[in-house]
Symmetry: C2
């Protein structure tokens, strides 16, 4: 998959000037070890592995997917790790047939595999490759008129409703973007559509932003984005085994009772094919931001003028997935785990996604193995994981995390994820108490292009962009960059393998990569996501692959060998306080907007100003958002701020405490993030238990913070909002109380 957010990570000044206390810098021995580690990182290694692993289709169930797992297993062992393959058997639909044709006004066969491009040698090796399709759509065979729905998100259905256009019994044509792909067929299905086509509009990932491949890295006219449409905002992983590992003995739902599988057929298509339909649609003109970038008029359609036949049939048998797990046992704290993962399965060749990240992970593992051979052992246990089946639904990481849930909750201190990586700026999201930890590592690695610390380059980009286009930079990021403190970590939503760790198990997590100057969005999930594309347009020479290994390697070494995982609870507290302010503002703003709508409807503004040629009905009256009692959240945020401040002060002098006290404090911190879980989980999706971070049910990959409250307001479930204000306040209070208790312990007043 892909990182949803392009949030940049940067620190903005030398540590001495940092607004927040810097994370503990490594000692002299540790520094020497990091220097030795850097010397063992090789872009040449990464290029070799990348070319090999992306030489054939490597999707779940393909021979090369299994071969890649076995090759990695052999390498891990060769590098001295205690490694094994862990297999799960998951429901994974493999397409048998994907038919797509226009049947009116003329009959034209469309769809099918993407064509080879001469310059790209692997693009012709598509024997055994998946055709363009989306996983976990419903099998079906439908013929129906087409309705253009823009991005196919809730606001688009409002726009259709205002024009009196229904998708009931129709096939929707949605463009990629605006929100996660899986929402498009799900919302279509909820609105009564019988089929769904999703296409890559050139306004979003082709010539509007990059020259089409192979002149540039942008999406060519016949390029198609595959992907999963599994409803992973309800739960990710094997649809048949929510909450438990997909082992032979697991209790399994049936395909019919699994709620994360769609009922209607859906296919992704190219903009060349979409243009054939759009050019013929009739009905009102699509104007403004709802139209895409094809050089023609867009119409909403919905009449019989354009009809499509869409038929998709899959093999729904269970398939094996192969996680490669490699362990280096800790010398001092073997039961404290630092877990580090990336996935190895792709949609076709998967060179950028996921292998640019995966080869960085392999470099780290090789270097750590070498250090171990030279006599070093980590204080804590390091677990390296190469996940399978991420693309269809975070299968490998979720099943493994579910299977080992109890042990992970007892032992795992930290999960560090990467996925596709490209040239550009260091980007990171994660648990906010890890902000200074990540910034410090980013400060200590040199950007391969600019020759300055990676964070200097990120900071420069934020400040340059703010000068050129102030609205493009969020205030919090600009303020942090300008003030010279650490840059904030973005919150984690979903879209990669940290989800089960953070949001199901409550393990502090990070997701890290470089990007912003690569053109991988143009090859994303297509046959053109190839070694050729990566080495020409995404990370020539894999210089940023090496930089990623160095940043993540530092995080692993420092977490594994330091006195504890460096955390700064004040960063978590101030960020939570900001989120509380945001949901309060959301409540007030939504109420104001509702009142304005009620006024405008009562006064007839929409009717009076309606256009004679494109009359719009008034937006639907959805009632007025109540002002909600947010005091429990205010109290909790305030408590957290005070507790975090005392805890940070205590930890700054922790090394002066008696070892037994320190051990008890560290034990109390080890699982503190699990206090953010509520056993009941979020409304309508109990698998997601973290009340601070979740993927949005209407954003998919994008994070919603304080999700129980925020989404309830947005979705007008005000009783849920009231309930989750209290529940969310309770987990924050519990977290703060734990910090209070540990401070009391340090003072001997517990």
């Amino acid at each position: 998959m892909n990182r949803y957010s392009l949030a940049l990570l940067a620190s903005v000044a030398a540590a001495a000037f940092s607004a927040a206390p810097a994370a503990a810098a490594p000692g002299v021995d540790a520094k020497a070890r990091e220097t030795a580690f850097d010397a063992l990182i090789s872009s040449a290694d990464q290029q070799r592995w990348l070319e090999d692993m992306s030489s054939a289709p490597n999707h779940v169930g393909s021979p090369h997917d299994k071969a890649n797992a076995e090759m990695q297993l052999a390498l891990f062992k060769q590098w001295g790790w205690d490694a094994h393959i862990e297999r799960f058997d998951v429901l994974y639909p493999t397409p048998i047939s994907t038919n797509f044709e226009m049947v009116a006004p003329t009959r034209v066969t469309l769809g099918g595999q993407e064509p080879a491009i001469a310059q790209d040698p692997t693009s012709s090796r598509t024997a055994g490759a998946l055709p363009p399709y989306v996983a976990y759509q419903g099998d079906g065979d439908v013929t129906a008129p087409v309705v253009y729905v823009n991005y196919g998100l809730p606001a688009d259905y409002d726009a259709l409703e205002q024009r009196g256009i229904s998708v009931k019994g129709k096939i929707i044509l949605a463009r990629y973007g605006g929100g996660w792909r899986g929402l498009k067929p799900r919302l279509a299905q909820e609105h009564g559509a019988v089929g769904c086509l999703i296409y890559s509009d050139p306004a979003d990932d082709s010539f509007a932003e990059a020259d089409p491949y192979p002149l540039g890295g942008g999406r060519p006219e016949h390029g198609v984005q595959r992907g999963s449409v599994q409803d992973m905002t309800t739960y990710p992983g094997d649809p048949l085994t929510p909450g438990v590992g997909a082992t032979p003995s697991a209790h399994r739902l049936t395909r019919q009772t699994a709620t994360t599988i769609l009922k209607i057929p859906a296919l992704p298509i190219s903009y060349a094919d979409a243009g054939q339909l759009i050019a013929r649609l009739d009905g009102p003109l699509v104007t403004g931001k709802a139209r895409g970038g094809l050089g023609m008029a867009y119409h909403w359609g919905g009449s019989d003028a354009v009809k499509v036949h869409l038929a998709v049939k899959s093999d729904w048998s269970l398939k094996p997935i192969y996680d490669v797990i490699a362990v280096m046992k800790g010398s001092t704290y073997p039961d404290q785990w630092i877990v580090r993962g990336n996935h190895h399965d792709g949609w076709v060749f998967g060179a950028s996604d996921p292998l640019t990240g995966q080869v960085a992970l392999m470099s780290e593992a090789k270097a750590l193995g070498q250090l171990a051979r030279q006599g070093w052992r980590p204080a804590r246990t390091i677990v390296y994981a190469s996940w399978d089946g991420e693309e269809p639904g975070l299968l490998g990481s979720t099943e493994w995390a579910e299977e080992h849930a109890d042990e992970l909750k007892r032992k795992a201190l930290l999960y560090i994820n990467t996925d596709n990586n490209g040239r550009g700026y260091l980007e990171a999201e994660g648990s906010h108490e890890l902000q200074s930890f990540v910034n410090q590592a980013g400060r200590d690695v040199t950007d391969p292009q600019a020759g300055v610390p990676t964070v200097e380059r990120s900071r420069a980009a934020i400040l340059a962009n703010h000068y050129l286009a102030p609205d493009s930079v969020p205030d919090a990021r600009f303020d942090a960059a300008k003030a010279g403190g650490d840059l904030p970590l973005g919150p984690l939503g979903s879209g990669s393998d940290y989800t089960a760790f953070l949001q199901h198990l409550g393990i502090a997590s990070l997701n890290i990569g470089f990007g912003g100057e690569d053109q991988s969005s143009g090859s994303y999930h297509s046959i053109y996501d190839s070694y050729y594309h990566v080495t020409h347009f995404d990370d020539p020479g894999l210089a940023y692959g090496a930089a990623l290994s160095k940043v993540v390697g530092r995080l692993v070494l420092r977490a594994a060998d330091g006195p504890r995982v460096p955390a700064h609870y004040g960063d978590f507290a101030s960020t939570v306080a900001r989120y509380v302010t945001e949901v309060e503002k959301l409540d007030a703003d939504q109420r104001e907007k509702d009142r304005a709508l009620a006024d405008a409807r009562r006064e007839g503004y929409f009717k009076l100003s309606a256009s004679p040629t494109d009359p719009l009905a008034a937006p639907r009256d959805r009632g007025v958002t109540p002002l909600l009692d947010m005091l429990p959240l205010d109290n909790a945020a305030d408590h957290l701020k005070r507790a975090a401040s005392a805890a940070d002060a205590m930890l700054a002098r922790a090394e002066t405490l008696p070892p037994a006290t320190r051990a008890r404090i560290d034990a109390g911190l080890a699982d503190i993030d699990q206090l953010l879980l509520d056993p009941a989980g979020l409304p309508r999706r109990p698998w997601f238990k973290n009340l601070i971070y979740a993927p949005g049910t209407l954003t998919g990959y994008g994070a919603k913070t304080l999700p129980g409250v925020r989404e309830a307001i947005e979705q007008r479930r005000f009783d849920d909002a009231r309930t989750y204000i209290v529940r969310t306040a309770a987990v924050i209070e519990a977290y703060a109380a734990r910090l209070d208790a540990l401070v009391a312990l340090s003072r001997g007043t517990a």
Copy 2:
């Protein structure tokens, strides 16, 4: 031409709830007269005249242009007006040849007349019509590489400079929009380009907003926008006779010494032709808002990959223009004139622009003539003017105003302009003391579509749009609509015939029309601006033509017959105070932006964050804007506010004053707007003497208020800014002092 601004005019509540005192409503007799006037307005008349006048090309110098003038003269006389034709002889270039071909990478002949469209009967009658061209370009014959320059405005040249691309010796390809057409070749010339092509990108006036003609009213792929590129921001009218009427005896400059004529050849082209070039340009990709809506990658070009041959030659002889002037003498104040104008020349058939406005004016004249036949005579003299030669450069109105300058300054109280008109919302700009006058007239006319007062519909549109897209509605407009007071008038820039009256002579002026729901931008200045287009897409049935006659007719009747032209000086004062706040904010914001740039350059943010594939140089250092002493403006604005408040209070009870005092007060108000003139005019353009309103030198049609100060800051002429702060404060003080004096007169304390 066209109104630049789509500023809506609306009042927002019954007069009783109006925040500002309502303009004096007409008495019982006057009301009956307005009812009689309305009954004489006929959409059928307007349709007949429109079809006839747009039946053949009617540009300056064409037989039908002269015939239309003579036809109108006959009608005015028939309706009882004292009418004549006033002729001027002006430099007007008529194209002899316009050649445009691509010569590399392949030779393709492009350009030429627009093709006929079967449904539109006049589109095939192009014998004698002007080909696509722009007036007052320089003759020339050049072959050179092409550079795409987006809108071709200053920010675009900054973007080119940051990429190291020069237009020197090249032909620029600019799209219409972002600013006035004439700026594009002027800036190209200043940057060393040897030729200029301007095309209509579909993102701006075709399928992005309307279905292409004839399915809708949007610009078809071969449609071309003609226009003038005369530098009318320096002075409009005949380039050879600035400041004086182009009569036989006038002193004339030579074509070489006239500063408003370009030196380089320029042609407007269609997006079909532009696409032929754009598809072949190379160089860096154009991204973001700089690209247009064609379905292809845009590149900046500039290499020898694409070369164009461009050759334009015109007949530069003097041509006659025919203003039709009709007078109805005032019974009580014959030397107080109310002047009302529209133009009658078009670029081809000119059905929408200008004839939709012109036939509304004719309806008014017919109705006023009929009222006069029934025994009514206006108290003041009414002058109806049908201008010729507006399209090439406001020729007819400017020469007439210059020729009669002394008399107009003595006698004219008000100039009311219209131009093209279409269905939609009442829009008005003008002298701000006339705000309540216009609002009151707008309240008294029913919108033909919604059946409510026109201003109710405008108000509804503002508030509906604010709900749907808050950022699309300026705060001042929303606040006024919401508060229930009169809606502000937009300031006048240029682009139609009020310019000489307001900005050269200091006569209070208005420009009024309906629009926002027509599709006339798609036929603008093309052969498709036809009776068919207007009656299908712009104002079917000319219902809004009749509504315009009723609004303007009320203004004329009330101004001609009322105790005085209704003015509310508090509206002027509060608007001027807002403008003063704006220029103060401009100064502070520009300084802040300069400081940020200096910081970013010093710290190397641009260099550090530069992309390896599209490296941008840092924006050019232009120094730091100083904080300017604005106190003279603050003092003047404060003085004006107090004086205006006292004057409004005095005028509210003016009818209780002795007649002789009233007459002296009215005489003092008659020419008060002339106090806003500075004899030296604006920096580098002395013809423009009004220090409150001017067209922007870098916006063309768009207004700049307090232009001597505002443009000097924007253009970094800080000595000019200091000088014009004082000069602008002086004219405001003089205006305020005049009001003070008249109030003193009313008290007998003068």
